[in-house]
């Protein structure tokens, strides 16, 4: 019994602490002490996460003019709530300040829609979809067995929902691979040379990147990471110039 109450207490303490830190950060923000606000939010990130927290952190960095960190925070927030309009708006806004501009070729429409849908859902969202459809399949099966539904209706509905269940679980798996398989990061240094080898050598500069650019991290070696841009450009940057999004 005592153990149990102790456990309850720690859970409560954690929540209370997080709440008070969050409120503290908001106070700093309101006072336009953005550096302190960002520091408070970052400390809170050590123990708790939430889309709102990342969003506020992004706003603080935006006000500080730290474009790279702001993009990072908003992107993190979107990982939790990909359909949050405030986060999307602010990310778009801060992206207009990013100097590097790489647009994906449009590809064909179906793929585009699929990607857009996938990006608007978290793994859990997709799981909810899939499991709900599975539940419906079960329900219809049961209703058919008890002859509440005609055989024709049952077979039709069953076919639709079985397909939907499979499709959503498939998308979910795809998304899960996306999330767990690829590592992305955001450039946080104002301007960075990208080298073709993991070493500072002027003749090996392949291209330059600026803060706020999102790139995929393909390799990590000592203090260097290999990044690959959307358009396929590849090179090495020091590890402290990029903040990973995982």
């Amino acid at each position: 019994m005592r153990m149990f109450s102790l456990f309850l207490l720690t859970v409560n303490l954690f929540a209370v602490n997080a709440d008070s830190m969050f409120v503290q950060g908001n106070w700093y923000f309101e006072d336009e002490k953005f550096i302190q606000a960002a520091r408070t939010y970052e400390r809170l990130l050590g123990s708790a996460e939430h889309a709102d927290l990342y969003y506020n952190l992004g706003n603080a960095y935006y006000r500080m003019g730290e474009v790279g960190h702001a993009v990072w925070a908003y992107e993190k927030g979107l990982q939790f709530e990909p359909r949050n309009d405030d986060i999307k708006h602010n990310l778009e806004l801060v992206n207009t300040r990013v100097q590097d501009r790489i647009t994906m070729p449009d590809g064909f429409a179906l793929l585009y829609w699929y990607r857009a849908f996938k990006n608007s859902q978290t793994v859990n969202d997709l799981l909810i979809w899939g499991s709900t459809f599975l539940l419906l399949v079960g329900l219809i099966y049961a209703l058919g067995q008890f002859r509440f539904l005609g055989e024709k209706a049952v077979s039709r509905l069953q076919a639709i929902f079985v397909i939907l269940t499979l499709v959503f679980h498939g998308i979910c798996l795809d998304k899960y691979w996306d999330v767990s398989g690829t590592k992305e990061g955001v450039i946080i240094s104002t301007k960075e040379n990208v080298y073709s080898v993991p070493a500072v050598r002027d003749e090996m500069i392949v291209f330059k990147v600026h803060e706020g650019l999102k790139a995929e991290i393909t390799q990590v070696q000592d203090n260097w990471v290999e990044i690959i841009l959307l358009d396929g450009k590849k090179g090495w940057v020091p590890v402290n110039t990029i903040r990973p999004l995982s």
Partner: protein
């Protein structure tokens, strides 16, 4: 080039080869020219001379002129090749034309040095006859303050200007001021002597640094005609014809070097001071009041005044974010007739507003130093208000690398913070939501439900039959008691049998009963039952064959017996 043949100082010939250096005069004034000649006899090529050692004390005015001549003396031909320069001494005193190295037909030869005696200019021709004067309006100025230097030629003799070397002063930004071209001569009197004066060159100098700065002298070369009583000729008569009647002497005129002291500004320099010195007016305007989004507007900035107009820049203008600004074109119009450097600078900015609404173009402020009252002043233009009406069509092409959606974002700010603490997710505790688990379990349940339910129902159905069969006898006996007539007795028996053993067929007759119940009840009992049923049928068709009260009682006892064998 005219070669005089007077006092030729022949220097002895070089060893083996015949090379000579000579001058036409070796007694002269500092502003007079002389001819220097290097002659090579019996040479195939022209000699090559490096004049560098000579340039310390002398200045080359013109040359070299090449000459080749042949002579026949006593039937023997001699040829000579010569180079001739016109030189002027740089200073007075005993000078020496140093020994020069001459390369002739691949051989290096040396000339002999020639001593020159240069007197101050007054001794040979009167200085007063012809001189060049630099007039400076002030010899003390602030950085950026205008100093006007006027170069004037004073003359009392017939002369023609050959060449002017304009000064290039170090430490100044110079702007040429307009003077009549060709120079116009006026009459003036200096201490009772009449002169012709012409302004050759006028320049506005703006010092770029503090300290003692020196004006480099201006040099002019002219041909002076020695006066003759017979003829008076115009100043700009062709010198070629003059040669026939007048003797012409070439002279080099130089201004005296002048020093100017440049002072630093007094204290109290404003932060936005960019180096403007003088008096200025600033104006800003747009070309039209009615502006549509996505249509270009021209924004003019005009700076008018007197001072160092080309030496400073306007402060950087901060235009609103939602308009595109092209780099300005600038133009400068100088007031030609003013001695003070005066004019109008004009900048034209092309602006393209991207959003409808009211926009203020920022005020422009310029700080300048007025050397007259020795104080800093700040002028500013009014801020310009633009009312931008919406674009006719929104299909205007976007530029500057933004897409249309992003352009719409340009004027906006970030959305504000979320302020209420959310439901925290503990770090690294992102689980699968309960709903997912619940629906998986529910679905599994639903798949299993029909099977279990049908089993249960099956059981219920069987138990229901049993219960019905248990009750069958009771009901049959009740029926038999209530309706003891023959029709009802046979119906009651059949119903009982149906319920008791759940026989499927509705139309039972003694035969089918026998086949159904064989093996279930003992044969003698079955025979008795069949006999009863047959009796019932017989009684129905021929009443009284067996006795009716008897039938119902018999049925009751037989059914009681039969029921025990279920």
């Amino acid at each position: 080039m005219r070669i005089l043949a007077p006092i030729l100082i022949l220097l002895q010939m070089a060893v083996g080869q015949t090379i000579t250096a000579s001058v036409d005069v070796n007694q002269l004034a500092v502003n007079e020219t002389f001819t220097f000649k290097i002659e090579a006899k019996d040479a195939d090529n022209l000699p090559q001379v490096n004049l560098f050692p000579l340039e310390k004390d002398f200045t080359v005015i013109s040359g070299p002129a090449q000459q080749t001549s042949y002579q026949f003396i006593n039937g023997e031909a001699t040829s000579s090749k010569s180079l001739t320069w016109t030189l002027v001494p740089n200073k007075k005193g005993k000078l020496v034309i140093p020994s020069l190295t001459v390369v002739l037909d691949g051989k290096r030869l040396k000339t002999k040095p020639i001593p020159m005696n240069v007197k101050s200019s007054g001794s040979v021709t009167q200085k007063d006859e012809l001189f060049l004067l630099a007039e400076i309006d002030k010899d003390e100025a602030f950085v950026g303050e205008q100093i006007t230097v006027t170069y004037k030629l004073y003359t009392r003799v017939q002369m023609s200007l050959e060449d002017i070397k304009y000064p290039e002063s170090v430490g100044f930004w110079s702007e040429e001021l307009s003077v009549p071209r060709p120079p116009r001569f006026n009459q003036t009197t200096i201490s009772g002597v009449q002169y012709n004066v012409a302004t050759l060159y006028k320049v506005a100098l703006f010092p770029t640094k503090t300290g003692e700065l020196e004006l480099t002298p201006m040099t002019a070369r002219c041909n002076v005609q020695v006066k003759t009583r017979r003829r008076q000729r115009g100043i700009f008569d062709d010198p070629f014809f003059n040669n026939f009647f007048n003797e012409t002497v070439q002279k080099v005129l130089r201004t005296e070097p002048r020093k100017i002291r440049v002072k630093p500004y007094p204290v109290g320099q404003p932060a936005n001071f960019t180096g403007a010195v003088g008096q200025f007016k600033l104006k800003a305007a747009v070309d039209t009041d009615k502006v549509k989004a996505n249509e270009a507007v021209t924004y003019y900035v005009e700076l008018e005044g007197t001072g160092n107009l080309n030496m400073f820049s306007l402060p950087k203008l901060n235009f609103p974010d939602n308009m595109e600004v092209f780099p300005p074109t600038s133009s400068f119009e100088q007031e030609q007739l003013w001695d003070q450097f005066t004019g109008k600078m004009k900048w034209e900015y092309i602006l393209i507003p991207r959003q409808a609404g009211k926009v203020f173009l920022p005020r422009i402020e310029l700080a300048y130093f007025d050397p007259n009252d020795k104080q800093f002043h700040t002028i500013s233009s009014r801020s310009v208000e633009l009312n931008i009406s919406p674009a006719k069509d929104n299909l205007a092409s976007t530029s500057s690398g933004f897409t249309k959606e992003e352009i719409a974002l340009l004027g906006q700010d970030i959305h504000y913070n979320f302020t209420t603490p959310p439901a925290w997710i503990e770090r690294g505790q992102r689980g699968i939501p309960i709903w997912v688990w619940t629906s998986y379990i529910l679905a599994a349940g639903l798949f299993l439900a029909p099977v279990t339910l049908s089993r249960y129902q099956q059981q219920r159905i069987t138990t229901a039959g049993q219960r019905m069969s248990h009750r069958a006898l009771k009901r049959a006996l009740q029926t038999l008691k209530a309706h003891p007539n023959v029709d009802d007795v046979s119906t009651a028996i059949y119903t009982y049998l149906q319920e008791r053993w759940q026989l499927r067929t509705d139309n039972l007759d003694p035969l089918s009963v026998e086949s159904e119940l064989r093996g279930i009840i003992p044969p003698e009992l079955l025979d008795e039952l069949i006999q009863l049923l047959k009796d019932c049928d017989a009684e129905r068709y021929a009443p009284g064959a067996t006795g009716s009260g008897n039938i119902a009682n018999r049925a009751m006892t037989i059914l009681k017996k039969v029921d025990g064998h279920a």
